[in-house]
Protein backbone atom coordinates (compact mmCIF):
# COMPACT_ATOMS: atom_id res chain seq x y z
CA UNK A 1 0.00 0.00 0.00
CA UNK A 2 1.06 3.53 -0.48
CA UNK A 3 1.87 5.45 2.65
CA UNK A 4 -0.58 8.30 2.76
CA UNK A 5 -2.04 9.56 5.96
CA UNK A 6 -5.34 10.68 4.45
CA UNK A 7 -4.97 14.11 5.91
CA UNK A 8 -4.37 13.08 9.47
CA UNK A 9 -1.48 15.06 10.87
CA UNK A 10 0.74 13.57 13.51
CA UNK A 11 1.58 15.43 16.70
CA UNK A 12 4.51 17.14 15.02
CA UNK A 13 3.12 17.66 11.52
CA UNK A 14 0.87 20.62 10.82
CA UNK A 15 -2.80 19.86 10.31
CA UNK A 16 -4.30 20.37 6.86
CA UNK A 17 -5.98 23.65 7.76
CA UNK A 18 -2.64 24.99 9.01
CA UNK A 19 -0.96 24.07 5.73
CA UNK A 20 -3.77 25.75 3.79
CA UNK A 21 -3.32 28.85 5.91
CA UNK A 22 0.39 28.91 5.14
CA UNK A 23 -0.16 28.39 1.43
CA UNK A 24 -2.57 31.33 1.39
CA UNK A 25 0.23 33.40 2.89
CA UNK A 26 2.56 32.45 0.07
CA UNK A 27 4.40 29.53 1.70
CA UNK A 28 5.25 27.15 -1.14
CA UNK A 29 6.86 24.60 1.17
CA UNK A 30 3.46 24.16 2.81
CA UNK A 31 2.04 23.27 -0.58
CA UNK A 32 4.85 20.74 -1.04
CA UNK A 33 3.77 19.22 2.28
CA UNK A 34 0.20 18.96 0.99
CA UNK A 35 1.48 17.23 -2.16
CA UNK A 36 3.43 14.70 -0.10
CA UNK A 37 0.53 14.06 2.26
CA UNK A 38 -2.33 13.70 -0.20
CA UNK A 39 -0.61 13.04 -3.51
CA UNK A 40 -0.11 9.26 -3.14
CA UNK A 41 -3.81 8.62 -2.55
CA UNK A 42 -4.78 11.02 -5.34
CA UNK A 43 -2.37 9.28 -7.70
CA UNK A 44 -3.73 5.84 -6.81
CA UNK A 45 -7.29 7.10 -7.34
CA UNK A 46 -6.30 8.72 -10.65
CA UNK A 47 -4.68 5.51 -11.95
CA UNK A 48 -7.92 3.59 -11.42
CA UNK A 49 -10.01 6.39 -12.86
CA UNK A 50 -8.06 6.54 -16.13
CA UNK A 51 -7.83 2.81 -16.77
CA UNK A 52 -4.39 2.14 -15.35
CA UNK A 53 -2.28 4.49 -17.48
CA UNK A 54 0.29 6.03 -15.14
CA UNK A 55 1.24 8.80 -17.52
CA UNK A 56 -2.36 9.92 -17.75
CA UNK A 57 -2.75 9.55 -13.99
CA UNK A 58 0.31 11.71 -13.41
CA UNK A 59 -1.13 14.34 -15.71
CA UNK A 60 -4.46 14.25 -13.91
CA UNK A 61 -2.84 14.64 -10.50
CA UNK A 62 -0.60 17.45 -11.75
CA UNK A 63 -3.56 19.34 -13.18
CA UNK A 64 -5.46 18.80 -9.94
CA UNK A 65 -2.66 20.26 -7.86
CA UNK A 66 -2.23 23.20 -10.24
CA UNK A 67 -5.93 23.90 -9.88
CA UNK A 68 -5.60 23.63 -6.10
CA UNK A 69 -2.69 26.07 -6.07
CA UNK A 70 -4.55 28.59 -8.18
CA UNK A 71 -7.79 28.27 -6.24
CA UNK A 72 -6.61 27.76 -2.67
CA UNK A 73 -8.31 31.05 -1.74
CA UNK A 74 -11.67 29.56 -2.71
CA UNK A 75 -11.21 26.39 -0.68
CA UNK A 76 -13.74 26.46 2.15
CA UNK A 77 -12.93 24.76 5.41
CA UNK A 78 -16.45 23.27 5.48
CA UNK A 79 -15.11 20.38 3.44
CA UNK A 80 -11.87 18.60 4.22
CA UNK A 81 -8.81 19.34 2.14
CA UNK A 82 -8.70 15.66 1.17
CA UNK A 83 -12.22 15.61 -0.27
CA UNK A 84 -11.54 18.87 -2.11
CA UNK A 85 -8.35 17.49 -3.68
CA UNK A 86 -10.03 14.23 -4.66
CA UNK A 87 -12.86 16.20 -6.24
CA UNK A 88 -10.28 18.00 -8.39
CA UNK A 89 -8.81 14.64 -9.45
CA UNK A 90 -12.26 13.33 -10.34
CA UNK A 91 -12.99 16.38 -12.50
CA UNK A 92 -9.62 16.27 -14.23
CA UNK A 93 -10.09 12.55 -14.91
CA UNK A 94 -13.45 13.30 -16.55
CA UNK A 95 -11.81 16.00 -18.66
CA UNK A 96 -9.11 13.58 -19.77
CA UNK A 97 -11.60 10.85 -20.61
CA UNK A 98 -13.62 13.25 -22.74
CA UNK A 99 -10.49 13.80 -24.78
CA UNK A 100 -9.38 10.18 -24.92
CA UNK A 101 -12.30 7.79 -25.19
CA UNK A 102 -12.18 4.84 -24.87
CA UNK A 103 -9.84 4.06 -21.98
CA UNK A 104 -8.42 0.56 -22.36
CA UNK A 105 -6.41 -1.05 -19.64
CA UNK A 106 -2.80 -0.04 -20.12
CA UNK A 107 -0.30 -2.65 -21.27
CA UNK A 108 2.10 -1.80 -18.48
CA UNK A 109 -0.56 -2.20 -15.84
CA UNK A 110 0.70 -5.55 -14.63
CA UNK A 111 4.39 -4.77 -15.01
CA UNK A 112 4.18 -1.71 -12.79
CA UNK A 113 2.89 -3.61 -9.80
CA UNK A 114 5.74 -4.29 -7.41
CA UNK A 115 5.04 -7.45 -5.38
CA UNK A 116 6.44 -7.84 -1.89
CA UNK A 117 9.21 -10.37 -1.36
CA UNK A 118 8.59 -14.01 -0.31
CA UNK A 119 5.40 -14.45 -2.27
CA UNK A 120 4.11 -17.51 -3.98
CA UNK A 121 4.86 -16.85 -7.68
CA UNK A 122 1.78 -18.75 -8.82
CA UNK A 123 -0.41 -16.83 -6.41
CA UNK A 124 1.18 -13.56 -7.61
CA UNK A 125 0.23 -14.35 -11.17
CA UNK A 126 -3.31 -15.17 -10.13
CA UNK A 127 -3.58 -12.00 -8.05
CA UNK A 128 -2.30 -9.89 -10.92
CA UNK A 129 -4.75 -11.44 -13.33
CA UNK A 130 -7.53 -10.89 -10.84
CA UNK A 131 -6.55 -7.25 -10.37
CA UNK A 132 -6.26 -6.76 -14.12
CA UNK A 133 -9.74 -8.22 -14.54
CA UNK A 134 -11.08 -5.86 -11.89
CA UNK A 135 -9.37 -2.90 -13.55
CA UNK A 136 -10.94 -3.86 -16.86
CA UNK A 137 -14.33 -4.19 -15.19
CA UNK A 138 -13.89 -0.82 -13.50
CA UNK A 139 -13.07 0.77 -16.84
CA UNK A 140 -16.46 -0.35 -18.13
CA UNK A 141 -18.37 1.32 -15.31
CA UNK A 142 -19.89 4.77 -15.74
CA UNK A 143 -17.59 7.45 -14.32
CA UNK A 144 -19.64 8.15 -11.22
CA UNK A 145 -20.10 4.49 -10.28
CA UNK A 146 -16.39 3.92 -10.70
CA UNK A 147 -15.46 6.96 -8.63
CA UNK A 148 -17.88 6.08 -5.83
CA UNK A 149 -16.68 2.48 -5.70
CA UNK A 150 -12.98 3.49 -5.62
CA UNK A 151 -13.45 6.14 -2.95
CA UNK A 152 -15.43 3.74 -0.77
CA UNK A 153 -13.61 0.46 -1.28
CA UNK A 154 -10.03 1.61 -1.76
CA UNK A 155 -9.83 5.02 -0.09
CA UNK A 156 -12.34 4.03 2.62
CA UNK A 157 -14.07 7.40 2.58
CA UNK A 158 -17.36 7.90 4.42
CA UNK A 159 -20.55 8.30 2.41
CA UNK A 160 -20.68 11.95 3.39
CA UNK A 161 -17.11 12.59 2.23
CA UNK A 162 -17.76 10.82 -1.06
CA UNK A 163 -20.88 12.93 -1.52
CA UNK A 164 -18.85 16.09 -0.93
CA UNK A 165 -16.05 14.95 -3.23
CA UNK A 166 -18.34 14.11 -6.12
CA UNK A 167 -21.00 16.79 -5.50
CA UNK A 168 -23.72 14.20 -4.88
CA UNK A 169 -26.13 13.45 -2.07
CA UNK A 170 -25.26 10.63 0.36
CA UNK A 171 -28.33 8.76 -0.88
CA UNK A 172 -27.05 8.98 -4.45
CA UNK A 173 -23.70 7.70 -3.24
CA UNK A 174 -25.39 4.66 -1.71
CA UNK A 175 -27.31 4.03 -4.92
CA UNK A 176 -24.27 4.37 -7.15
CA UNK A 177 -22.22 2.17 -4.83
CA UNK A 178 -24.91 -0.52 -4.87
CA UNK A 179 -25.06 -0.47 -8.68
CA UNK A 180 -21.27 -0.38 -8.98
CA UNK A 181 -20.85 -3.39 -6.70
CA UNK A 182 -23.54 -5.30 -8.58
CA UNK A 183 -22.01 -4.51 -11.98
CA UNK A 184 -18.51 -5.43 -10.84
CA UNK A 185 -19.75 -8.65 -9.24
CA UNK A 186 -21.41 -9.65 -12.51
CA UNK A 187 -18.23 -8.95 -14.48
CA UNK A 188 -16.05 -10.79 -11.98
CA UNK A 189 -18.36 -13.81 -11.67
CA UNK A 190 -16.34 -15.82 -14.21
CA UNK A 191 -13.45 -15.87 -11.69
CA UNK A 192 -15.36 -18.02 -9.26
Amino acid sequence: MLDDSAGDASDTEPADHVLVRRVRLGDRSAFDAIIHRHGPGMYRFAIRMVGGDRTDAGEVVQEAFISAWKNIETFEARSSLRTWLFSLVSRRAVDLQRKRRPTPVADDFLAAVAPPANRDPLQDVMDKELVAALQAALAELPHQQRAVWLLRELEEMSYDDIATTLAMTPDSVRGQLHRGRRNLAERMAQWR
Binding site: L2, R24, L25, G39, G58, A114, L134, W191
Partner: protein, 159 residues
Protein backbone atom coordinates in the same frame (compact mmCIF):
# COMPACT_ATOMS: atom_id res chain seq x y z
CA UNK B 1 -0.41 -10.89 -0.06
CA UNK B 2 -2.25 -13.90 -1.37
CA UNK B 3 -5.95 -13.35 -1.58
CA UNK B 4 -7.46 -16.81 -1.31
CA UNK B 5 -9.38 -16.20 1.90
CA UNK B 6 -12.74 -15.56 0.25
CA UNK B 7 -14.45 -17.34 -2.64
CA UNK B 8 -15.95 -14.02 -3.81
CA UNK B 9 -13.76 -12.96 -6.75
CA UNK B 10 -14.70 -9.29 -6.41
CA UNK B 11 -13.71 -9.29 -2.76
CA UNK B 12 -10.46 -11.11 -3.55
CA UNK B 13 -9.65 -8.65 -6.31
CA UNK B 14 -10.50 -5.68 -4.10
CA UNK B 15 -8.16 -6.92 -1.38
CA UNK B 16 -5.42 -7.46 -3.94
CA UNK B 17 -5.96 -3.96 -5.33
CA UNK B 18 -5.73 -2.43 -1.84
CA UNK B 19 -2.48 -4.28 -1.20
CA UNK B 20 -0.77 -3.17 -4.38
CA UNK B 21 2.27 -0.96 -4.24
CA UNK B 22 2.03 1.71 -6.91
CA UNK B 23 5.24 2.75 -8.55
CA UNK B 24 5.98 6.11 -10.07
CA UNK B 25 4.64 8.50 -7.43
CA UNK B 26 8.08 9.88 -6.54
CA UNK B 27 8.64 11.00 -10.14
CA UNK B 28 5.13 12.38 -10.42
CA UNK B 29 5.43 14.34 -7.17
CA UNK B 30 8.68 15.96 -8.30
CA UNK B 31 7.10 16.89 -11.60
CA UNK B 32 4.09 18.39 -9.81
CA UNK B 33 6.24 20.45 -7.45
CA UNK B 34 8.41 21.70 -10.31
CA UNK B 35 5.32 22.72 -12.26
CA UNK B 36 3.69 24.51 -9.34
CA UNK B 37 6.89 26.47 -8.71
CA UNK B 38 6.57 27.99 -12.16
CA UNK B 39 3.18 29.43 -11.27
CA UNK B 40 2.75 32.79 -9.67
CA UNK B 41 0.07 33.65 -7.19
CA UNK B 42 -2.10 36.60 -8.08
CA UNK B 43 -1.07 39.56 -5.99
CA UNK B 44 -1.16 43.31 -6.25
CA UNK B 45 1.98 45.40 -6.35
CA UNK B 46 2.27 48.47 -4.14
CA UNK B 47 4.40 51.59 -4.44
CA UNK B 48 7.41 52.03 -2.20
CA UNK B 49 8.49 55.40 -0.85
CA UNK B 50 11.69 57.28 -0.07
CA UNK B 51 12.60 58.45 3.40
CA UNK B 52 11.11 61.86 2.70
CA UNK B 53 7.80 60.38 1.58
CA UNK B 54 8.06 60.56 -2.22
CA UNK B 55 7.36 57.62 -4.50
CA UNK B 56 10.62 55.75 -4.97
CA UNK B 57 11.97 55.63 -8.53
CA UNK B 58 14.61 53.46 -10.14
CA UNK B 59 17.50 54.65 -12.32
CA UNK B 60 15.19 54.96 -15.31
CA UNK B 61 12.68 57.02 -13.39
CA UNK B 62 10.08 54.27 -13.08
CA UNK B 63 8.10 54.02 -9.86
CA UNK B 64 9.31 51.11 -7.74
CA UNK B 65 6.62 48.65 -6.71
CA UNK B 66 6.74 45.74 -4.31
CA UNK B 67 4.66 42.67 -5.03
CA UNK B 68 2.20 41.38 -2.49
CA UNK B 69 3.85 37.99 -3.07
CA UNK B 70 6.88 39.43 -1.30
CA UNK B 71 5.10 41.55 1.26
CA UNK B 72 2.65 38.94 2.54
CA UNK B 73 5.20 36.19 3.35
CA UNK B 74 7.50 38.74 4.98
CA UNK B 75 4.67 39.95 7.18
CA UNK B 76 3.77 36.37 8.03
CA UNK B 77 7.36 35.61 9.04
CA UNK B 78 7.68 38.85 11.00
CA UNK B 79 4.75 38.18 13.31
CA UNK B 80 5.63 34.52 13.74
CA UNK B 81 7.01 33.39 17.11
CA UNK B 82 6.88 30.04 18.92
CA UNK B 83 3.75 31.35 20.65
CA UNK B 84 1.84 32.83 17.73
CA UNK B 85 1.31 32.29 14.00
CA UNK B 86 -0.43 34.25 11.28
CA UNK B 87 -3.76 32.80 10.23
CA UNK B 88 -4.21 35.27 7.38
CA UNK B 89 -2.58 38.39 6.02
CA UNK B 90 -4.78 40.76 4.01
CA UNK B 91 -3.20 43.71 2.25
CA UNK B 92 -5.56 46.40 1.05
CA UNK B 93 -4.40 48.35 -1.96
CA UNK B 94 -5.90 51.51 -3.33
CA UNK B 95 -4.43 53.37 -6.29
CA UNK B 96 -1.25 51.25 -6.03
CA UNK B 97 -0.72 52.26 -2.40
CA UNK B 98 -0.90 49.97 0.57
CA UNK B 99 -3.72 51.48 2.58
CA UNK B 100 -4.27 48.85 5.25
CA UNK B 101 -2.94 45.55 6.52
CA UNK B 102 -5.05 43.13 8.53
CA UNK B 103 -3.30 40.23 10.20
CA UNK B 104 -5.19 37.45 11.95
CA UNK B 105 -3.22 35.59 14.61
CA UNK B 106 -3.48 32.24 16.33
CA UNK B 107 -1.89 32.39 19.80
CA UNK B 108 -0.93 29.93 22.46
CA UNK B 109 -3.31 29.75 25.41
CA UNK B 110 -2.36 31.71 28.50
CA UNK B 111 -0.52 34.59 26.85
CA UNK B 112 -1.24 38.28 27.28
CA UNK B 113 -3.06 38.65 23.97
CA UNK B 114 -2.95 42.44 23.96
CA UNK B 115 0.81 42.35 24.38
CA UNK B 116 1.08 39.76 21.61
CA UNK B 117 -1.00 41.99 19.34
CA UNK B 118 1.13 45.02 20.06
CA UNK B 119 4.34 43.09 19.42
CA UNK B 120 2.94 41.72 16.18
CA UNK B 121 1.97 45.21 15.02
CA UNK B 122 5.47 46.51 15.80
CA UNK B 123 7.02 43.64 13.85
CA UNK B 124 4.68 44.18 10.91
CA UNK B 125 5.33 47.93 10.90
CA UNK B 126 9.06 47.26 10.67
CA UNK B 127 8.51 45.11 7.58
CA UNK B 128 6.32 47.76 5.99
CA UNK B 129 8.98 50.39 6.65
CA UNK B 130 11.74 48.17 5.31
CA UNK B 131 9.94 47.17 2.11
CA UNK B 132 7.70 50.15 1.38
CA UNK B 133 9.69 52.99 2.93
CA UNK B 134 7.94 55.97 4.42
CA UNK B 135 4.46 56.45 3.00
CA UNK B 136 3.23 59.65 4.65
CA UNK B 137 -0.37 58.48 4.38
CA UNK B 138 0.24 55.13 6.06
CA UNK B 139 0.02 55.15 9.84
CA UNK B 140 1.00 51.75 11.30
CA UNK B 141 -0.97 52.37 14.49
CA UNK B 142 -4.10 53.11 12.50
CA UNK B 143 -3.62 51.05 9.37
CA UNK B 144 -2.22 47.76 10.71
CA UNK B 145 -4.96 45.79 12.40
CA UNK B 146 -4.09 42.72 14.43
CA UNK B 147 -6.89 40.30 15.32
CA UNK B 148 -6.38 37.27 17.52
CA UNK B 149 -8.83 34.84 15.92
CA UNK B 150 -7.99 31.69 17.85
CA UNK B 151 -6.26 30.52 21.02
CA UNK B 152 -4.89 26.98 21.18
CA UNK B 153 -3.44 24.81 23.92
CA UNK B 154 -0.49 23.54 21.93
CA UNK B 155 1.73 24.88 19.20
CA UNK B 156 -0.19 27.47 17.14
CA UNK B 157 1.77 26.37 14.08
CA UNK B 158 0.43 22.85 14.12
CA UNK B 159 -3.11 23.24 15.48
Amino acid sequence: MAVEQTPDPLERATIALRDETETGWVEVSQSVMDRVRTLVTPASAVISFTADGRAERDARGSVVRVSGRILAPRLRDAVDTPDRAADSVDIEVDDDRCTAIRIALVCRYGLDLQAEGRAARTAAAAVVHELLGHDPDFDPERDIAIDVVDVVDGDPHTE
